[in-house]
């Protein structure tokens, strides 16, 4: 798959990014230690090249020993990992290994599935998001989500963006400005600026998906979860979304599930590899985290044999 050349891949750009990191972030706590502990990593995969990353991510979301059940069925077992601030974290692995399940548990979207249950601990800035006093709506305001299939509302392009700010009661001085800003943020403005009042269903699949991203960033979350956001798109639309993610990384923390290893290699700072293991007694295939590391490491020098097999296409 080819990636469209992007302005953000020029060698000077990353310095630019780190220096502008603090002012553009609403919660500045994360930027400082990142610079302090910055360490050059040789990442030889496409766009990820030349990026400084701390050895240990600055945690935004942290999973500790997480198990996720659907009724009696344990879909995921023993996941512990830290999603870093302003990083793109990819979760890869064969289908059915629980990537979506883990992703949905991060903003409590799995509450919507009857019988879904999480044990262990998932924290957002140290707060247990499954704590008894936590409102899942508040969680989702801070941790937004983009779905596998574009799911714009059957409303106008404008109303799709304005919906989130309106229903969450965001104080907005000018909705028009916010809509424009969000559409620009999702690299969609130029394509739709003349038809904001038209139905979002008139857009192409790739445009719809960027609209969904625009809609998500309109409510200013800190984290954006993406579940195979490109799986229904053609390569060109995919490349545009990948470019977009690179831009969004400056302002948001992105966690992406992808079926596509090249995509993870291209966009992600860190990659978590999951696989499913059949339980001895029941034969239930339970997902587990095999390895989590810098993307460069995962793809060039994985520590686990199973990762290597998967990366090299020997299974999955």
């Amino acid at each position: 798959m080819t990636t469209a050349p992007s302005g953000s891949t020029t060698p000077t750009d990353w310095t630019d990014m780190t220096s502008t990191d603090a002012p553009t972030t609403e919660r500045p706590a994360a930027a400082a230690p990142q610079d302090a502990s910055a360490r050059e990593i040789d990442v030889r995969v496409d766009r990820a090249s030349g990026r400084y990353l701390p050895e240990v991510p600055t945690p935004v979301i942290e999973c500790t020993d997480v198990d996720i059940f659907y009724g009696q069925f344990r879909a995921v077992h023993g996941v512990s990992l830290v999603y870093g601030k302003n990083e793109i974290t990819a979760m890869i692995g064969p289908s059915g290994c629980g990537k979506s399940t883990v992703l949905r548990s991060l903003n409590r979207m799995n509450d919507l599935i009857t019988g879904a249950r999480v044990t262990g601990k998932i924290t957002y800035h140290g707060q247990d998001i499954y704590g008894s006093d936590v409102d899942p709506i508040e969680v989702r305001r801070r941790i937004g989500m983009v779905f596998q299939k574009p799911n714009p509302f059957p409303k106008s392009i404008y109303d799709n963006i304005a919906y989130g700010p309106r229903v969450t009661g965001m104080k907005v001085s000018s909705m028009d400005d916010l809509v424009e800003e969000s559409l620009r943020g999702a690299a969609l403005w130029d394509e739709v600026k003349d038809k904001l009042k038209q139905s979002a269903y008139g857009l192409s699949g790739g445009q719809q998906q960027r609209l969904c991203i625009a809609r998500t960033i309109a409510v200013r979350p800190e984290v954006i979860l993406m579940d195979e956001p490109c799986s229904s798109l053609d390569p060109i639309a995919t490349a545009r979304i990948e470019d977009l993610m690179e831009d969004l990384r400056k302002d948001f923390t992105i966690i992406i599930v992808t079926h596509n290893m090249q995509q993870a290699a291209r966009v992600a700072d860190r990659t978590a590899f999951f696989t499913a293991k059949a339980a001895e007694g029941t034969g239930d295939r339970t997902g587990q985290l095999v390895e989590y590391d810098l993307t460069s490491k995962i793809f060039s020098n994985p520590a686990d044999r199973r990762t290597e097999d998967y990366i090299s296409g020997r299974f999955g």
Binding site: N107, M109, L112, T114, I137, E138, R140, R141, G144, M145, F147, K149, N151, P152, F153, P154, K155, Y163, G164, V167, T168, Y201, C212, R215, T216, V219
Partner: protein
């Protein structure tokens, strides 16, 4: 029809292609192997069914129209539509102003909708969006059974329970045995299941991906329901209300039993009154000789009922087209 004749085209083009491949049997031939008589027969039967229902409808309209036309030869349309005295069976002082019957129908229908729309939609929202699947599995069939209770049962209920106990004793509203209020209330109860069940279908049919999209933005459930699910389901919801409305306008037993038989202009909910259907039921069961004016009156009222229902349907289809958010 057209698909079958159109399919006849390709074989000529397919044959030479098969020859080019040079195989003994012809896997690439697009020619039809069998004439498919079965398919054709099924189509004819289905076509017949469709035609039959159209013909029956036309037949009904015609049989309604002819006696109604003879009625209007004796009574002018203006007198019929705008006259406020309805005394077709008072020898010597017959008057054919249908306004009293229209007010009777309007009152009972309006009261019925006032009851059925909020309760029906509330029930639908609860079932589609809030109820646990197990609860829904039990309640939905109950609702559908309720929709099938014979209306004479409801009429009896209005007469013997709602009017004397609920309205007079419990709520302290002075109504007689007959009132458009008690008829309308019970009519409303009767059509709640229609509104609830069909609206629930419409809301459940909205893809859950839309709900998830809304919830993932931090919208709560009520806002998601009202601002995403509801607009997306509005055509089905409107259809349920229109159907319920048509049932209320056309319902006979309840109003015949509970509203009364005095055809007079109704100006308050506690008054008795006669509806269009109530009049038809009362008159049709009495003796009227075909061809007489009193007989033709039935058809004039029937035609009016038909036209009203038709107009209501047309208007609501227009409205729905304008407001729906098709997914």
């Amino acid at each position: 029809m057209s698909s079958i004749t159109a399919a006849g085209g390709p074989p000529a083009a397919g044959a030479p292609q098969g020859g080019r491949r040079g195989q003994s049997f012809d896997p690439s031939s697009l020619a039809r192997h069998s004439p498919r008589y079965g398919e054709r027969a099924v189509m004819v039967v289905l076509q017949g069914a469709a035609m039959l229902s159209v013909l029956v409808t036309i037949g009904i309209v015609v049989s309604l129209l002819l006696p109604a036309l003879s009625f209007f030869r004796e009574v002018s349309v203006g007198e019929f539509l705008f006259g406020t005295r309805w005394t077709p069976r008072f020898p010597g002082q017959e008057s054919y102003g249908v306004v009293p019957l229209i007010t009777g129908t309007a009152w009972t229908t309006a009261i019925a909708l006032l009851i059925a729309v909020p309760f029906g939609l509330g029930a639908a929202i609860y079932l589609a969006e809030y109820a646990a699947p197990r609860v829904r599995k039990v309640l939905k069939p109950v609702l559908e059974v309720l929709a099938g209770v014979p209306s004479v049962v409801y009429g009896f209920f209005a007469l013997t329970f709602v009017a004397p106990f609920v309205l007079e004793d419990l709520l302290g509203i002075e109504v007689g045995t007959f009132s458009v209020l008690s008829a309308g209330l019970v009519l409303g109860i009767m059509i709640i299941p229609t509104v609830a069940s069909l609206s629930e279908d419409a809301m459940s049919a909205v893809p859950s991906s839309l709900r998830q999209g809304s919830l993932a933005l931090g919208a709560n459930k009520m806002r998601t329901t009202l601002r995403v699910v509801f607009p997306a389901a509005v055509s089905g919801i409107a259809a349920s209300i229109v159907l319920a409305l048509s049932r209320a306008v056309g319902e006979t037993m309840i109003v015949a039993l509970a509203a009364g038989t005095q055809a007079r202009v109704v100006t308050g909910a506690t008054q008795p009154g006669q509806t269009m259907t109530g009049f038809i039921a009362q008159t049709a069961t009495g003796e009227s000789t075909p061809g007489t004016l009193s007989y033709n009156t039935l058809f004039a009222v029937g035609l009016l009922l038909f036209v009203l229902t038709f107009v209501i349907n047309m208007i609501s289809i227009r409205l729905v087209r304008r407001f729906r958010e098709a997914y």
